[in-house]
Amino acid sequence: MDSILKVQNVVKQFGNYNALSNVSLEVPKGSIYGLLGPNGAGKTTLIRIINQITMPDSGEVFLDGKKLMPDDVQYIGYLPEERGLYKSMKVGEQCLYLAQLKGLSHQEAKKQLKYWFEKLGIEGWWDKKIQELSKGMAQKIQFVVTVLHQPKLLILDEPFSGFDPVNANLIKDEIIELNKNGTSVIFSTHRMESVEEMCDYIALIHQSNKLIEGKLSEVKRQYRSNTFQVGILTQNIEGLMVQLTQKFKVGPTNFKSLNEDIKLEVELGNLNSNELLSILTNFGQVTHFVEKIPSVNDIFIQSVSK
């Protein structure tokens, strides 16, 4: 598997405070990689190290197989969580300036800007000052500035904060489209539903250590508890419960169903799902039989509160 970004044994201390202790990560090329973790876990420090804003005390970062160099900033697009623009500068000038800082020529920057402004329907904003725009409008500009230089790696820290649902969706679609065209994305957020929806890979950082990393489906498999939700139409509830509790841990549960069935959550432990199914079929008609898949939210809370 080719990786766009590789972080190796990175350590960073601020005085006596450990911001990152020996963190290693690998972001596969073309993935959307969710970087998760509670506040103060060290995500921002890690992101700043990748952007060469802060230097690590030890450890190395590789971009596209090569050691990260100062000039590599042109391949990375970074949308920080704390973001803003020069208030009294005109939108167009400001975008041109920021694009040129990323290494684009004046013409190239102008061409790209035109493309993006048309795409997002904001052509009329060119001569406006940032202070005349609403927060959401300014956020759109920031997004454009981040992706303008066609980076290989896009690092987005809470990209949807400040957007209304319509615009959040618009930006989400843009991110997905960029990803389809080959841009790898690192995505740091506290909105677990976005992670669930967009990310192929996740990593969880907690108290300056990496706890989990991997493909989202594999992580979920790791965290599965072999628990099934079942629904059954039966007259002999007591008999069923006696038989089930002999072998499994059983509890009540809830799910949407059209039947007047009994809803149960059954932890199988080491046993096979067929054993559960064979017991159930003895007692009546099985209307629902689904393995419970852990949500990212569950995984997050479970690992952090360990």
Binding site: L79, E82, K87
Partner: protein, 435 residues
């Protein structure tokens, strides 16, 4: 385009487009010319006023010796009783000179009294003392049998001729001119450092509060951003000063031609110059003054002004940039400003008080070598001629310190720009140096 030049360009344009810059640039010279008119007018008004002093001379021995001058008139109230004279003087005049009745003139030595509401000026006191002294002296001479007129004639009035080892005549009052010229340059540097240093600081704070800083330093090094800011702002400052110089000169000449008004300084000089011009001796003397000014190391002065300006401004701007990075708002910056302003103030005061008395004395020499004060003090000393080794030592130290301070400021800047919220303490700043 190079990243640094991009930043310089943006900073320069942002400064120059700012409304307050435009207003100050074009209003500044107007204000300056207006101020000099006002000062000239006020001082001429002061000159025209006449102070009236009442005299109550019971002895009758002195009152005739107080002669009216252009600005002081004496009013004789000797005929009134003393109480009435006091009241009258209190209500109508500046003060009352009281001379008691004495048996002999010599007893007046310490008896003459001046009564007034406000304490008199030193000039006035010495004037009165002089009158009493000369009256008493000539009286003594008379009792000794000497002819006062003859003694007056016998008095010699010498002038010390000043010259240099290198030849040529030195002129009195030249020190003041030299300090004046050096002082203007030194003062300009100080003003520039404070005004534009503050601009650098404000611009750093602006980037912090706008939260654009992290976007920018993901593209450029914080050091590049800081240097770009300092250089860009300084260019805006230089532009402003050039405009001031041009506009100021034009306004000055326009005012002179249109109104035929002679400005404060020249109005006091011109009549004397006219008088003086009548004797060829005086003409050559004025010529000498001009020669002497031209003989000042003007080339060195201008070169050094540029060198010290660059060194001093960069040195202090780095401090200002570090302060801006450390705080969240301008109000928080006060705590850190004092140590920056202090050396500048010290430089100006040391310059004006010690250089004029002893341009090559210990204090002046030391302060012209210490980097934080050298841009100001050295420029004041240069017109008096400074040994080359001192100049070189001072410049080397200035630029050495500048490199050290930039390094130190960059460290604080790098950490500070990403710190939000609480105002750091000195201890925390020290810790940042080690991050």
């Amino acid at each position: 385009m190079n990243v640094l030049s991009l930043i310089i360009k943006r900073e320069f344009i942002a400064k120059v487009r700012n409304k307050s810059f435009i207003v100050m640039t074009f209003l500044g010279p107007l204000l300056f010319v207006g101020m000099s008119f006002l000062i000239g007018y006020l001082s001429s008004m002061n000159k025209d006023s006449i102070t009236e002093i009442a005299i109550h001379d019971e002895s009758g021995l002195l009152k005739n010796n107080f002669k009216n001058t252009k600005h002081t008139h004496y009013i004789d109230l000797s005929l009134m009783p003393i109480d009435v004279a006091k009241d009258t003087a209190n209500n109508n005049y500046e003060g009352l000179l009281f001379i008691p009745k004495v048996d002999s003139l010599q007893l007046l030595l310490d008896k003459v009294e001046y009564i007034s509401e406000d304490s008199p000026s030193l000039e006035f006191i010495s004037k009165v003392e002089k009158v009493v002294d000369s009256t008493l002296t000539s009286d003594r001479l008379k009792t000794m049998g000497l002819d006062a007129d003859k003694i007056d004639k016998a008095k010699a009035d010498s002038t010390l001729k000043l010259s240099k080892f290198s030849g040529g005549e030195s002129l009195k009052g030249l020190n003041e001119i030299k300090v004046g010229i050096g002082g203007i340059f030194g003062y300009l540097i100080m003003m520039f450092i404070i005004i534009y240093g503050n601009m650098v600081m404000r611009s750093v704070i602006e980037e912090k509060t706008n939260r654009i800083i992290e976007i920018i330093i993901s593209s450029v090094k914080p050091f590049q951003l800081m240097m770009g800011k300092i250089i860009g702002t300084s260019l805006a400052g230089i532009l402003q000063f050039i405009i001031w110089a041009i506009v100021g000169t034009i306004l000055f000449f326009l005012a002179q031609t249109f109104f035929g008004i002679q400005m404060g300084a020249s109005s006091s000089v011109t009549p004397e110059m006219m008088e003086a011009a009548q004797s060829t001796e005086a003409i050559s003397k004025i010529q000498l003054y001009f020669n002497e000014i031209w003989n000042l190391p003007l080339g060195t002065l201008v070169t050094c002004f540029i060198i010290y300006f660059i060194g001093g401004y960069f040195l202090y701007s780095s401090f200002y940039a570090a302060i801006g990075a450390a705080v969240d708002s301008e109000t928080d910056s006060q705590q850190f400003m004092l140590p920056v302003i202090m050396p500048l103030m010290l430089g100006v005061y040391v310059g004006f008080f010690t250089v004029i008395n002893d341009p090559h004395g210990m204090v002046a020499t030391v302060f012209s070598i210490i980097p934080l004060t050298s841009p100001i003090v050295m420029l004041m000393r240069i017109p008096f001629g400074v040994p080359l080794w001192q100049l070189i030592l001072s410049i080397v130290l200035l630029f050495g310190t500048f490199i050290f301070v930039v390094w130190f400021a960059a460290k604080i800047y790098r950490v500070g720009i990403l710190m939000y919220g609480k105002k750091p303490t000195w201890k925390e700043l020290y810790k940042w140096l080690k991050y």
